[in-house]
Symmetry: D2
Subunit: 308 residues, 4 copies
């Protein structure tokens, strides 16, 4: 029996909270099973969607440990090791290793003001500190640097990184990455982190997708991915259009932060579906409320997700 | 006989220059015929690719007049009316009307610091000043504002604008625009202005493409569009990959401006193909030279474009 | 008799409009005399504060011609030659030359995406096209490039530019410019374009100031500059604090563009002082209205400006 | 005996490293004494200049403990509590409290995408978690949000924050902050974090300065501050000009990150002055080397700092 490989649909799990603000382990278990039952290929815990930046080390450890326990080897577990610089990221890697995850996902340094050479050194230092596969997370909206194409291909060819999770919003760059990776013998597993352009990403050759919306509707992403493998692009488009309609939940709030609107919508939808218990967010982010919640619920209902 | 409609492949023509820096009318005629012979659906003159920002009003008039004369009704002519504010854009619209083009393409105000309400007023003032169809050109990298989705749909529904040329680099926003337009009864013709993600754009429902690279290889874009209409998405992807390889010409220069690298590459390729006479750029932009030119020529040759 | 030199207080005049939107020549004459009577050292017409980006060439010509006629040699006239690229700026320079102004003020290219080398070529081409002194206008918030220190000093040393109007908001860069200019033998006349940090700018060695707020209260800027020349820095600070209180007029509007809030406040104050007839702005910018106007009037009244 | 108050010259200490990359405690002790002997009013440890983002929690604890031990109550100790969100910053506050510092300095959340309301909640949560005075650190170049004027005044008036360290580079905003604070009864102690515009900042009413360059030349900053208190603004300017010449050390490197160039220059100068042992930086930042080091040493020598 060969080890499961990376790729396909790997949702970045939200981290459910109780009404008191603690990590809600019961909800988390329901969420993990909800996703695995839907047929996802892997789980990405402690990503931006998992509010990693808001969680203490103790809470991060709980999430990691529980994810490994609940999934019980059914799918691969990737995890964010979110911190500013090599010395601090390595401390996070140790938590991930102790919990027994399968791969880590690391951004460029942030808060600091690195150039591309320092970013490359950063990834090399992480690789020297662990045997876990490393995925580079390209998220300039948060870290304010784009990972350069040449660097990614070079780090892939040398085995420093195993893949890329692209949340750069740069579709031209994404195609160039996929093409350059193919020309280099495909050392990298390339994921798109965007929810509503997965059809195009798969058409051009992406290996997988890490969709925050996949928390809410994992089944359609699984179907979409299968249709792409079958070459049925009309089906891919149709399912993507349905998911894109559902994605409108993230645009319902106004006057709140992007975190509150986007992650808050995912949690609000999951609470509406009784998968998690509350739509509570980590401080200082407020939970969505009032008419925004109602609009989100209506969109979820229109998508036909309420099966209970 | 019905009027030709907007959509399909509409390359934004470069403006060829002589060695003295004048508009090169002979080269321009060859370019227009090169594109029409390849089967394009329309021509977009005086866009960013046409160096509109660099041309005097006299030169703009020459380009417009010649484009209309040479195309002789074979395809529709769209034109940029590039200036900062309504009063000044209207003066450009008068030049376009006098030349007899079929539609105009206008950006948000720039240099000034408008909000979305002022941008909307801007388009309303332009529409009040002309009977020509107006396409909104969404190009935040140049004007530093993104056109809002709600505004575009509202202006479309009211008949203020006829369509959108999207060069925003925001693929999520592009899908939302296409979906919202469809939900509104498709009042807008939606073009993507990006060269290497046309496959995905067409899969999700774009009406056409305005590819700068289409100056160099119009035939492949025509074939790609036809394949999409036929639902042959594997062919679409294959042709897009070939075009994406060719698009690498814009990444060959280093240490020069985006204008010099990108438009300079298009002109360098066209000169190599003997369609235009020089790769000269408008001041203060230098022409590409030396090894950069050789690398571009090699890429063009690999694409199998040199048929003479 | 020697020619007047550049420096000191040079307000960037607003362009008054009639209720119909035409340039209001009577108001403009009152404004020019208001400023000269207050003792300003020069006038800057057709700057950003003069809504240059919104005016047709015909209106620009009217403003230039009238400014020269009314000032009648009492003070120097500087003028903006606002357009995107060398070919188009030179056309604006011709208007300025025909009107008989004393100097021109030019930005880096905009809308296009130049690098510093192209920006330098831009200024060299302008200098080759005119004998008028050229001031480089450093305004990254509008043109999205900062003029490099090395380039400015080099262009000054070669006599390509006569000075710099710094509206970059980069106070560290401003001090470095003043120091580098001094080390180079002071080839440049260095103006700050910021209203509320003139005390510090003069303390560190600026040659003058181009304050939009100087339309409203030219006398205090003249007094402030005189106090700095006398080395009375406590007086400089006191006057600057008074002007800074008055500058709060630009922060009274909400939900409108920067143009509407800032220039709109200057025009609203000037209309309240009966110097100009309306606070109307050029399309698509709305005039300020309602309680915003009342708040601005109250601030103006507190400053003791209403002498009629 | 009253408690020492906050204000005056408070240098943000670099964190010296040994050749092995460990915190160099001997160098740190020399640095602390170098600064206190020069007459500074306080010490700011674990700021951006202290490479806080690069240090593990263990190293942070060492720095805090040593700073408190060495200073032995001679001056106040402020410290950065650098992390992304309230839950994680509070963990850092616990380290600071355990070490016995006098005040903490906190930024807005980063990596996350907060709005101003969430930023305000963030500071309120920190205040609820500690009795230490909190200084808000306004550093948009790192956290990509500017702290709003209204929020800062409100938090000051309510006693949530004790002051502001402004490294925003927005001199207009800084003057508005100082004026609004004065109008509110001066609840805030306002520091500028910029090295070369301290003269203007003190003229307009700043309470103190946190200059990275103060590591290298604390005496001149102490003299400058004293001259400002004496109202001798010509002396203030002269000393500031000398410091500005010295500040050119940060512009000597090319092709490296801002961190490497700026902090690297401070460390290189301090090593040249034999105050610290190496100019080594924390990974992934390289130490400056070669001709860059020589140019920095020459600038330091010209400033007359090499007294040994």
């Amino acid at each position: 029996m060969s080890a499961p490989t990376f790729g396909g649909v790997v949702p970045p799990l939200v981290t459910p909270l109780t009404a008191d603000g603690a990590v809600d382990l019961e909800s988390f278990e329901r969420l993990v099973n909800h996703l695995i039952d839907a047929g996802v290929d892997g789980l990405f815990v402690l990503g931006s969607s998992g509010e990693v930046a808001f969680l203490s080390d103790a809470d991060r450890t709980v999430v990691l440990t529980e994810a490994v326990r609940i999934s019980a080897g059914r799918v691969k577990i990737m995890t964010g090791v979110n911190d500013m610089t090599p010395a601090r990221v390595v401390a996070q890697i140790r938590l991930a290793e102790a919990a027994g995850v399968d791969a880590i996902v690391a951004t460029a340094p942030f808060y600091t003001l690195p150039n591309q050479a320092e970013i490359e050194t950063h990834f090399r230092l992480l690789a020297a500190a662990t045997t876990l596969p490393i995925f580079a997370y390209d998220v300039p909206v948060r870290v304010h640097n784009k990972l350069s194409l040449d660097m990614l291909i070079r780090l892939g060819a040398e085995g420093i990184i195993a893949g890329v999770k692209d949340s750069s919003g740069d579709d031209v760059g994404f195609r160039r990455l996929v093409m350059a990776n193919r020309a280099a013998g495909s050392p990298l597993v390339v994921f798109t982190g965007h929810e509503v352009v997965v059809d195009g990403a798969l058409l051009l050759g992406a290996d997988g997708v890490v969709p925050g919306l996949g928390n809410v509707d994992p089944k359609r992403y699984v179907d979409l991915f299968a249709a792409s493998k079958a070459g049925d692009w009309e089906a891919v488009r149709r399912i993507q259009d349905e998911l894109s309609e559902l994605f409108e939940i993230v645009f319902q709030a106004s006057g709140v932060s992007g975190e509150a609107a986007g992650l808050g919508a995912f949690k609000t939808a999951l609470a509406h579906l009784d998968i998690i218990s509350t739509n509570r967010m980590s401080p200082p982010v407020p939970a969505l409320a009032g008419e925004t919640v109602e609009r989100i619920q209506a969109i979820v209902d229109r998508a036909g997700l309420l099966v209970r």
